[in-house]
């Protein structure tokens, strides 16, 4: 008995298998993004895509380039560690959009009645060491900035009544 008598029948079968494998490998190469597997089982170019998102908050370093005077006042006061945009809102467009050397976008001054209360309204839930006031008892509705300079809020001895 000759085991290899009918081996000729396998040629077409093997050829089809090889062609099929090549087609699948070719399709996979065509459809897998180029950077897939660069760092791991994901598209490496996604890192660049995500890093390219637009920035809305310029960061206090950008503010201090032009507003050095405010930064200096603030650094000496109780709000030294409160960054500019925490109160003034996102200002990247104000910081970066310029026409003829001046900022295109003018920031809107925040409403101190809402702003100050957000942090300083007295609540039993806040840490005890944080300065808090009940606005009605504290000032009877007089706006905060009548007495307090927001950039350096402690009232100096000479200013107090």
């Amino acid at each position: 008995m000759n085991l290899f008598k009918d081996v000729g029948h396998l040629f077409r079968f093997v050829a089809l298998f090889i062609v099929g494998t090549l087609v699948i490998l070719g399709l996979r190469a065509a459809f897998t993004p180029r950077s897939f597997g660069q760092y791991g089982h994901y598209r490496g170019a996604a890192l660049g895509d995500i890093a390219a998102h637009p920035v809305h908050f310029a960061g206090h370093q950008a503010c201090e380039v032009c507003h050095a005077d405010v930064a200096e006042t603030k650094a000496k006061g109780k709000h030294a560690h409160v960054n500019c945009e925490a109160c003034h809102g996102a200002q990247a467009r104000h910081a970066y959009d310029f026409t003829n050397g001046s900022a295109t976008i003018k920031p809107v001054l925040p409403d101190t009645a809402v702003l100050c209360a957000r942090c300083h309204a007295a609540s039993a839930a806040k840490p005890k060491s944080f300065p808090q006031v009940n606005a009605a008892d504290h000032s009877g509705g007089v706006p905060c900035q009548t007495c307090h300079q927001p950039h350096s809020p402690a009232i100096a001895a000479g200013d107090a009544k």
Binding site: P33, R34, S35, F36, Y39, G40, H41, Y42, R43, A45, A46, L47, G48, D49, I50, A51, A52, H53, P54, V55, H56, F57, G59, H60, H79, H81, V82, N83, E85, A86, G89, A90, R118, C119, A121, A122, S123, A124, A125, K126, P127, F130
Partner: protein, 243 residues
């Protein structure tokens, strides 16, 4: 043009190289940023958080987070003396507009800001069937929006509830640790706008980062350590009632 077969064969490899560079796409946006030099995390000091909601608002502005969805949010815990195991937790609109005034009451109150923990062994990246979410070489768990199918398997897998399906993009979305900011040397939007310094971005690979001194000298915890996810968001003064 008279192109012989010989010339055509010579030009073929050059064309292949050119096509390769077309497929490779544009280089990363921050050329001076080295992925291997960073390992990002965050430090949250519960004793400093006043529940103002600045971080939640800043995150929404910076990342165009749709209303009703959160990449970060703040919870207020109220633990009464008699019921330590059942704290009352509120988070009105994620704490975006601050919290209602609490009258002097029994028990204790504290705020817990939450965000993606950027886990080293994150269950969310392990379950993704297509490789659309991953931990980057600098330790940030990210979603490839153009590759995500929106199957929401990762949303279910996250033990911290930090992911959602974006209502317009129909793909998974989450905190990127402001990847577009930290790769440019900026602070994250939430940390930049935290008025009390309760949230601090930390680079665990930077030997000069103050996080190292802090971790050495404070009793710092992570959320749900029993899940073995190795989170990189560290909480100082975390109460045992926080789940």
């Amino acid at each position: 043009m008279n192109l012989t077969r010989r010339h055509f064969m010579v030009l073929l490899p050059a064309a292949a190289v050119a096509w390769e560079s077309v497929l490779a796409g544009t280089p990363a946006a921050a050329p001076n940023y080295k992925l291997t030099d960073h390992w990002w995390g965050m430090l949250i000091d519960i004793s400093k958080c006043i529940g103002c909601g600045n971080c939640v608002r800043a995150c929404q502005t910076e990342n165009d987070v749709p209303d009703g969805f959160f990449r970060t949010w703040v919870e207020r815990y109220h633990v009464t003396d008699t019921n330590l195991e059942r704290p009352q937790v509120i988070s009105p609109d994620g704490g975006k507009g601050g919290f209602p005034i609490a009258a002097e009451d029994e028990g204790k109150y504290f705020f817990v800001p939450k965000l993606c923990n950027h886990c080293v062994d994150s269950p969310c990246t392990q379950v993704c069937p297509v490789g659309a979410t991953f931990i980057s070489p600098d330790g940030v768990v990210l979603v490839d929006q153009s590759y995500c199918l929106g199957c929401a398997y990762c949303v279910q897998a996250c033990p911290y509830g930090c992911r959602y399906i974006h209502p317009e993009k129909h793909s998974a979305d989450k905190c990127t640790l402001c990847y577009h900011r930290i790769t440019k040397g900026l602070n994250t939007a939430c940390c930049e706008n935290c008025p009390t310094g309760a949230r601090q971005l930390a680079d665990l690979k930077d030997p000069n980062d103050p996080i190292h001194a802090f971790l050495k000298t404070h009793a710092v915890q992570v959320l749900k350590p029993q899940m073995a996810t190795t989170p990189k968001v560290f909480y100082n003064q975390l109460d045992g009632s926080v789940r």
